[in-house]
């Protein structure tokens, strides 16, 4: 591989270390963000449902 894109991808021969470092950081922090977001959405949904049900029963 040659050219600027090739140099970018091979990282001067250290592609096996640089890319996994960025990949794992992205996976861990992105995974935490996704997990936190889904748990927030579920909790907000539960509160909304409970408030609606309580209002109906009054």
């Amino acid at each position: 591989m040659t050219g600027a894109v090739g140099a970018f991808l091979t990282m001067g021969g250290y592609a096996g270390f640089v890319w996994p470092a960025y990949g794992i950081a992205f996976a861990v922090l992105g995974g935490l963000a996704l997990f936190s977001w889904r748990r927030y959405r579920d909790s907000a949904g539960a509160v909304e449902r409970l408030e609606r049900d309580l209002g109906r029963r009054r």
Partner: protein, 258 residues
């Protein structure tokens, strides 16, 4: 300021306004930071392109320490003033800090192998950061180990405060002991000793990580407040329903998680 903010309703309102701004700023900072780190910044004259790992590793390490300090301060506030929002803040922050510490350890390992010839060495800096990771895990486990959340919060808070002794050990480990790890080059007496072409992307990535922490913290705190509110509503719904038999506990139909 903290007292004024420490009102759950006010916190919910303010965080709802702050979260989109913080999230947008985090996305911009991380996008600019990634482009700068991977494309614009020059390779190091000794370490070549492996130096690019620094732009993730060092901000993650800064966050690992800062978030632990945040957990400890929130724990102290929760212990002394018994404010529930402080306990919620400490519990919400700990997994984020653990994630940053894990990223710091893994990226450090991936940087150590090509530069030192080893994935891991048991020297002072690496070992003390590994202990920090275990302190985070210990706090999370302890805070959730009791049926009564208040007791778990207090036990976790004590552990978090005892663990603060590890922070100066991590910071000064590279000065106190002989270590493979290089000494501080940014936060040192006499100013940073790093080229501006590398310092700029490092600081932008650090800003992005800090903003990401702020967004995730607010999101997780609001989740905890929602979950407590849902539990109170369920108890309320259970109390309203007349018990069919004496001795039978009133249980809401909505206890099943969605």
């Amino acid at each position: 300021m903290i007292n004024w903010l420490a009102n759950p309703a006010r916190f919910t309102r303010l965080s709802a306004q702050a979260m989109p701004w913080c999230g947008g700023a985090a996305a911009v900072a991380l996008a600019v930071g990634l482009f700068w780190s991977l494309v614009v910044a020059p390779p190091d004259y000794q370490q070549g392109d492996t130096v690019r790992i620094m732009y993730v590793h060092v901000p993650a390490a800064w966050m690992a320490l800062s978030v632990y300090l945040f957990v400890a301060v929130a724990s102290a506030v929760a212990l002394v003033w018994r404010h529930p929002l402080a306990d919620i803040a400490a519990r919400a922050a700990a997994p984020i800090g653990a994630a940053f510490t894990f990223v710091c350890l893994v990226t450090g390992s991936l940087w150590g192998k090509p530069m030192w010839g080893a994935w891991w060495v048991w020297d002072a800096r690496l070992t003390s950061v590994l202990i920090l990771f275990f302190l985070y895990l210990g706090y999370i486990a302890l805070a959730n180990a009791f049926d009564d959340p208040a007791r778990g919060g207090r036990a976790g808070a004590v552990l978090a405060l005892v663990g603060v002794v590890n922070l100066p050990i991590i910071k000064f480990s590279v000065d106190w002991w002989n270590t493979l790890h290089q000494p501080a080059s940014v936060m040192r007496v006499g100013g940073p000793r790093i080229a501006i072409s590398m310092l700029a992307p490092l600081l932008i990535m650090a800003l992005g990580f800090a903003l990401l922490f702020a967004v995730l913290l607010m999101l997780r705190m609001r989740t905890a407040l929602n979950e407590r509110k849902a539990m109170a509503l369920r108890l309320n719904a259970g109390a309203r329903r007349p018990a069919r038999r004496s001795g039978e506990r009133a249980v809401s139909m909505h206890t099943a998680a969605p």
